[in-house]
Symmetry: C2
Subunit: 372 residues, 2 copies
DNA sequence: TTGAAAGCGCTAACAT
DNA sequence: ATGTTAGCGCTTTCAA
């Protein structure tokens, strides 16, 4: 019975485009092709192709007519056929750090990947993930190898590769289209980038804490080569300075963005005579770890200590106390990175803009409280 | 400066397949095609196609020769060309419930989606998500519409659609290839399915609690039409019965798999004279909500109450106390669903098997403790 | 400014 | 059991 059912499906699959006239074929008319559009608008196939691809040498009047036909027929280009003719693979590469110590937390990365993957499907593109050690001397060669082997049309760089000037330069030289996720200020003029305004986010979060009456801060930074994480700290510094406080007099350490690092560093920061009243962590995973450590130390949260983070991961909502943080639309960032890369490949004018900031916002929950 | 850099990329992109002889073209030889393989193995192109597609009528000896050539040339089929010729769209649909009340928790679904998406890319397939109201009378028609509109080659059903016999039957009748994620026992004989053994998992988890000395239980079930969640409860019942306890004498409620539902139901279950000492939730999100509610009620965890769940979501690791749960490899389930669907489309023999269980395991953390 | 014609790499009729 | 021949829908010469 089971086998029979499956065999039936099989038989159909291989018959689908055969000559047999099926009920389906009779009922629905075939998907319109470029030739249908050409016929309806009374022009040649080549002309349709030209307007579809933003090509030159088409009279505005004709272009309009073609566009109307496209509309009327609900025509959509067949990306697979387009590739075959155009020689593109419709394949993108997403490069991330595989070095465990440098790896961004998994929610961050999964979200980025999911957003990117989702944006690929409608465009007929596919996305290949490529993890590599950021410290490897041959990292650039490794990326080129990957791109060549898989015939990628373009690549998306994630932190810390987003800030790797040498890599960026090599990609430019080899004329490989690419976009950077959350690049730091230093390279924003040179790369097409997508991310949130980390400096502003750090500033806002700190202002909020200042408004709550806090004066003694501590900060768990991320890794040095992640420029976006550094910007978070820079915004914090700016807010402090404006308030007449010296960032340099506040305790600071670094962690690799993980729960464990947050817990470990929090212990160091909190086991001191004059304990800080507010602890800022460069991301939520570390903030969650800090919460954990604080509980272990017997502190009452948020009465004894306010803890905040960045990202607004799902975890931040359910820990105790629920984390006050900055929401970063990570899936949207992944999606925009893909979209801008595709624009770049298509030579769209919109691709010219440099850095694109996606909106962030402060999410007030219960882990930060007024300090008297 | 910025514009110049980007223009350079653009110019190249559009020149890539032009007539200009680039250094790249000179350096690396073109990707091998099916004709290269045919030439090297001394057979016709059709024969190569046959072995590539597991077709019949190829002498074992010839098949071997072709396979060796494929190996030697590092040949990979061009899936886009294959589609164009074969009339398939290389597009799969993932159907999920969009009704907020019935929606599985987001980690569950994101993980499934990510696993499926990852499995698609290497095969040159793309995945389209389609959410629809499970209670809608036209749900079946809606799915067919979607499949036709997007020319999907096959569909993946997620709970609760996995257990929708009527839908399954319609798909079979319309000869649309499909696989079910976590189908219940009732339909496993008829569908190609992938999931974990929920009954066994429920049994193991309950045995563990029994071993800890618990005698008074409570269970927050999922929604009735999610057969896999029901199986979790069935396993619990079996373990209890074996231990001489009556499942019917233990308190039970239902929730829609969300944090909030877990919190709400926990309050009902725990605000009673003879409080249970162990609370089992059909998934981690509800268990997390239960933890939250128990904290609010002032219970000491896990001393006063043991709470456990299913899934092992990232959240379960960082809540307080860390959740003892059953690990469900959700990404793997998504990936296997895609792989089996593709096998089905390709008519692979391996596709004949019915339900495929992926391994689960008990993850002991700190939310369940010995009860004296 | 436009169109005709030649493929891109593959599968599937239809020979053989 | 294997090869020949047409296309699939599109982009890109090249000619008009």
């Amino acid at each position: 019975m089971r086998v029979a059912g499956i065999s039936a499906v099989k038989a159909v699959v291989s018959r689908v485009s055969g000559p047999t006239v099926t009920a389906e074929a009779a009922v629905k008319k075939a998907k319109p092709t470029i030739d249908d559009v050409a016929a309806l608008s009374g022009v040649g196939r080549t002309t349709v192709s030209r307007v579809l691809n933003n090509g030159p040498n088409v009279r505005p009047e004709v272009r309009l007519r073609v566009l109307q036909a496209v509309e009327a027929l609900h025509y959509k280009v067949n990306t697979q056929a387009r590739f075959l003719a155009g020689g593109r693979s419709q394949t993108l590469a997403l490069v991330h750090a595989s070095d465990p110590d440098a790896e961004p937390n998994s929610y961050y990365f999964s979200g980025l990947e999911l957003g990117a993957l989702r944006a690929c499907a409608p465009e007929g593109f596919r996305l290949l993930m490529h993890g590599l050690n950021q410290h490897a001397l041959n990292r650039i060669e490794a990326i080129f190898d990957f791109v060549r082997t898989h015939h990628c049309d373009g690549v998306i760089l994630t932190p810390p590769f987003s800030d790797d000037r040498e890599l960026h330069q090599a990609l430019l030289t080899q004329q490989i289209a690419h976009v950077a996720v959350s690049p730091g200020e230093a390279v924003r003029r040179q790369v097409v980038g997508v991310g949130m305004d980390d400096e502003a986010a750090g500033y806002e979060l700190t202002r909020y804490l200042l408004g709550l009456g806090h004066q003694r801060f501590a900060f768990i930074q991320g890794l040095e080569n992640h420029a976006s994480a550094e910007s978070r700290y820079a915004g914090y510094g700016r807010a402090l300075s404006e308030a007449g406080l010296s960032p340099l007099s506040m305790a600071t350490t670094r962690g690799n963005f993980t729960f464990r690092a947050g817990a470990d560093q929090a212990v160091r920061l909190l086991n001191v005579p004059q304990r800080p009243t507010a602890l800022i962590c460069a991301n939520d995973d570390m903030a969650t770890g800090a919460l954990f450590a604080a509980h272990r130390m017997g502190l009452r949260l948020p009465a004894d200590l306010s803890v905040v983070g960045f990202d607004d991961t799902p975890v931040s909502e359910v820990v105790w106390p629920p984390l006050t943080t900055i929401h970063q639309p990570i899936k949207q960032i992944g999606a925009r990175a893909v979209e801008r890369l595709i624009d770049l490949l298509n030579g769209a004018e919109s691709a010219d803009a440099g850095f694109e900031a996606v909106p962030h916002r402060l999410v007030v929950r219960e882990s930060a409280a007024r300090f008297e």
